[in-house]
């Protein structure tokens, strides 16, 4: 072992450093790189990739079956409109209610909690990073992964679900409502990642077991259609649903329990969700600032 001499001048300059915006951006970039390396395509997250790719795989299967039908190998066909409603059902019942919710939970709740469990969070806490910058960097890393997985999965599934209709589907996409619907689904997916991401990041910082909190949020989001209209609005799913391009009716006998509420306009739903996410992130940053390294020893 050998040591280099103390660079006093450099260190003194460092002491005076208060952190400029440029430096914060470089630091956020550093956190992003490390987090993406640790979490993106890691073996630990295999179940999240399964959740994201599951519906896409089903849609691929559907496409292959419909190709067989069009060649007369299998009997029976359905309309393009039915496929559109089927996708709306998959999007609402699978993506929003289950896959995306749990996927975001797996990504964002673990950003801090997994580091506590693996006893590695102190490495971050011992660098000259403002905790707010750390929260921002980790959230952005989680968001990038979530967007890549879920927007990719939703867009891929949508583009493929009517592919077997050939030119009719191309017409629907390019000259009909297709691209607008796709844009809406992508926007809702992105907003869901932003909103649920902020919720679960906060859960991961505040709770030793964030999954209990996540289960409570899930039940709350699940019973949303049956809640009184005031309570309905205290949720993420309510605003997301109002942004969905195709409405999915609640099937009987549950439809009798549904309470009707006026849809929230786009210009309230989108900024509203972003504001809620920002508030949760600020609270997460404050919590992280006061957080201590206690690995339960």
């Amino acid at each position: 072992m050998s040591s280099e001499p103390l660079a006093a001048t450099a260190v003194d300059t460092a002491v005076r450093s208060n952190g400029s915006t440029g430096e914060w951006l470089r630091q956020v970039g550093g956190v992003l790189r490390l987090e993406l390396k640790k979490t993106f395509l890691s073996r630990r997250g295999w179940w999240i990739y399964c959740l994201a790719l599951g519906p896409f795989a089903i849609v691929v299967l559907h496409w292959l079956i419909e190709l067989q039908r069009s060649r007369g190998v299998i009997n029976g066909r359905h309309s393009l409109g039915e496929d559109s409603i089927a996708f709306a059902g998959i999007f609402l019942l699978y993506y929003l209610r289950a896959g995306l919710f749990f996927g975001c939970m797996g990504i964002f709740a673990n950003l801090f909690r997994a580091e506590m469990l693996e006893k590695t969070l102190h490495y971050y806490f011992l660098t000259p990073l403002r905790r707010e910058v750390l929260v921002a960097g980790k959230y952005l890393a989680g968001l990038l992964v979530a967007l890549a997985l879920w927007v990719g999965s939703v867009a891929g599934s949508f583009l493929l679900i009517g592919r077997h209709f050939g030119t009719a589907w191309s017409e629907y996409l390019w000259h009909g409502p297709g691209m607008s619907q796709l844009g809406s689904y992508v926007l809702v997916t992105a907003l869901a990642c932003v909103g649920y991401g902020a919720v679960f990041l906060m859960c991961g910082i505040l709770f030793k077991n964030p999954f209990i909190a996540a289960a409570i949020v899930w039940v709350w989001e699940g019973i949303n259609p049956f809640l009184p209209s005031v309570l309905k609005k205290i949720s993420v799913i309510f605003y997301l649903k109002t942004l969905c391009p195709v409405e999915v009716p609640v099937p009987p006998p549950f439809n009798v329990m549904v309470t009707e509420t006026d849809a929230t306009p786009f210009w309230i739903a989108v900024p509203g969700l972003l504001t809620v996410a920002a508030i949760l992130l600020v609270y997460s940053a404050i919590s992280a600032k006061n957080a201590e390294i206690n690995y339960g020893e």
Partner: protein
């Protein structure tokens, strides 16, 4: 002046109802300072407090004038090699050091250069591209040391840094600590290997049950322990004569001749009086003295006098 010190002012830390440290006031100057105490005495709590990993329940801490709750300033001047033997998953030794150096906002080239220099410092250049998970315990300890000091900090805090190191790496690490201490850095080391603490420390802080029992240079601390007579080893040609003269003194508690008949181990309550008497005996009896040395002003003895035989370090 306080901008060159690490200061604790009436600092207490409780974990619920459990005491971590209580009402600690310290002022640590540059050089190598060892934290010594049994398990649970508060060594790691003290280190975690000064590095901002935990917050004090009461009191104030300053590291070179910087409060620990400002990591963006503190961590530029401080490096902490904690005791946790855990690393981010799937990362190589090089990536481990480089990735966290990026948080200092340095350029790629500077991070690369510092990473390579610190890997070289701990002798891990060859293993730089291997996953840390495949490292031996000693290599993991060394890469942690390199990561904690890659940014060239003025304050280096090391929790049991010699654990897991083989004798060669241990002596190399001690040489680095000495060099850092000599350069005017603050090097705080906790260790349970008392003879190594003795070798490297400029000053010690003895902790027991959350309290600072003693602090300062070890000889100074030893001389403060009045209730334990000082042990002094004298090698000379007439130890029996010296023993006879010593027994006439009130302050001499015990004198034992060494088996080879050329030495004497004595215990005295007043070392200064003994040294005066020794000078007189040398002049009166033409005593030829080979060496005179305190036999219990090491960390081990002071530790046992102040904290007790039964305590495990």
């Amino acid at each position: 002046m306080s901008d060159n010190l690490i200061t604790f002012t009436n600092v207490s830390r409780f974990y619920g109802e459990v005491l971590g440290i209580n009402n600690v006031s310290l002022s640590v100057p540059p050089g190598i300072t060892s934290l010594v105490g049994p398990n649970g005495s508060g060594k790691t709590t003290l280190m975690n407090l000064m590095t901002g990993l935990i917050h004090p329940t009461e009191g104030e801490i300053r590291v070179l004038g910087i409060p620990p709750d400002h990591p963006e300033r503190l961590c530029r001047v401080l490096g902490y090699c904690a005791q946790f033997d855990a690393f981010p998953k799937g990362i190589t030794g090089y990536q481990f050091i480089y990735s966290f150096l990026r948080m200092y906002g340095k350029s790629d080239a500077e991070c690369d250069q510092r990473t390579r220099a610190s890997l070289e410092m701990v002798g891990l250049t060859q293993a730089a591209d291997r996953p840390v998970a495949a490292y031996s315990k000693g290599m993991r300890q060394r890469v942690k040391l390199a990561q904690a000091t890659a940014h060239n900090p003025r304050v280096v805090v090391l929790d049991e840094p010699l654990n897991g190191l083989d004798p060669l790496a241990r002596s190399e690490a001690i040489a680095i600590f000495r060099q850092w201490g000599g350069e005017g850095r603050h090097v705080l080391v906790s260790s349970h290997i008392l003879h190594e603490v003795d070798q490297i420390s400029d000053q010690v802080i003895l902790l027991s049950q959350g309290y600072v029992v003693a602090e300062g240079q070890i000889q100074g601390v030893r001389s403060e322990v009045k209730e334990q007579p000082m042990q002094i080893q004298v090698r000379c040609d007439k130890p029996s004569l010296l023993a006879a003269r010593l027994f006439q003194q009130d302050h001499v508690v015990e004198a034992k001749l060494s088996p080879d008949g050329k030495g004497l181990l004595l215990r005295t309550r007043d070392a200064d009086s003994f040294y005066l008497l020794l000078n007189r005996v040398i002049l009166d009896s033409a005593l030829e003295v080979e060496s005179v040395a305190p036999a219990d002003d090491d960390v081990n003895s002071v530790y046992h006098y102040l904290i007790g035989e039964g305590s495990s370090v």
